[in-house]
Amino acid sequence: MRRLLVPLRRPVLLTRRSALLGAAALTASACDSARPRAGFLGTMERVNQRLQEALFDEDQLAPELAPEDATAPGDFPQYFVSESMPLAPGGWALKVGGLVERPSVLSLEDLRRLPRTEYRIRHHCVEGWSAVASWHGVRVSDVARYVGADPKAGYVELRSFDSGYWSSWDRPSAFHAQTILAYGMNGQPLTPAHGAPLRLYSAVKLGYKMVKYLTEVNFLPEPTGGYWEERGYEWYAGM
């Protein structure tokens, strides 16, 4: 009866309790709130980006709103990352470069000569608030045509004089009919509080993707992150 001499060892079982504790520990290590773009949270950001890209329809437009829907001018939040309000340097002009046939330096006058687009739509901030204003300017897609952007440039980078604030966009969102380089708000020239002399405006992204105080637009083959994106905010941030 040799069998009986074998010490009775409890088999190592994956009990319900240890499985639950393990799952909790795994979740805690893979979900680090301080690094939301890494670990499991980062993996799910990439999964969700795929879903958002699949859902994106270039023909889907944000509804144009009536004048009475507009937020009172004093209630439309202003925001910049510099200590004080950034003011355009003298002789400001927009540099447009990257994979383009005709790298250009465009003044506001040059931009105003391109086709003008105007709309009044709802703004969606990452914080959760919404506000309404009308914006006018030139479509990014019209600027792209003007400088001869290469189809291989799958991304658009936007840089500013607001302490180096920047972002980068996927091409379909940047070329959406409601994505513009805005030089005006509510029928008036853009004010420094809202990004003068030129800012990005769009229906299809959260507010932090809409770079203000623009200095450069670059058509690039790779995405180049962004100010808030480097700090942990979602890169795609589609609406």
């Binding site: 979900c31 301080a34 939301p36 889907q60 009172a72 969606h124 979602e234 609406m239």
Partner: protein, 225 residues
Amino acid sequence: MFSCRIVRAPESRRPQPWPIRVAHWVNVPLLVIMAGSGLQILAAYPMLGAQGRPYAWYPFQGIPPPAWARLGDWLAGARSWHFAFGGFLALNGFAYLLYLALSGEWRRRLFFPRRDTRNAVSTLAFYLRLRKEPPPQELYNGLQRLAYTGALVLGVLAVLSGLVLYKPVQLGALARLLGGYDTARAIHLLVLAAFVLFTVGHVIMVLLHPRSLGEMVTGGRRPDA
């Protein structure tokens, strides 16, 4: 007469078949994560209504939710938790609904006003001590059917209003159906409040009827066993 039954009739099944138990317990951590991260997101702008147009009916304008109820530490962290796990909650709910529909379990679980109203009222009267004996019941009484069906409706509303907040432009038709972005945001928060009330009531009832907790763990005894 020829008949073909793919599935067992609900009446001859355990009180809590395994798909229902799995869906139920998977919900627990997911709902905690979604509520906590949602409240941390709300803390970034603890107002309801568009800028300059706060809703007059909302009593907590400008008051952030308590820190102990929040998850994710800051806005970007909380958003990442919310969007990482929200899809799983929706999938779990979808799988549950699919199981209810295909198994026939919907017949003994969902609330049908004609069938269940009288029983629900009698059960409520019993709990309020207006009636000595509880009304006869099968798996669930009318009040339970009302509560669990209500929780399902809340789940559907949570997912739909959440989708509007996530994609108010691409899902423009859904946004219009729910009254626009800011209305959807209010619905999303009210659904959370209703879920909290449901959970409090649910836990109290489970404490009063501990056998139901055992059934949700083991499945309970088969009627013919």
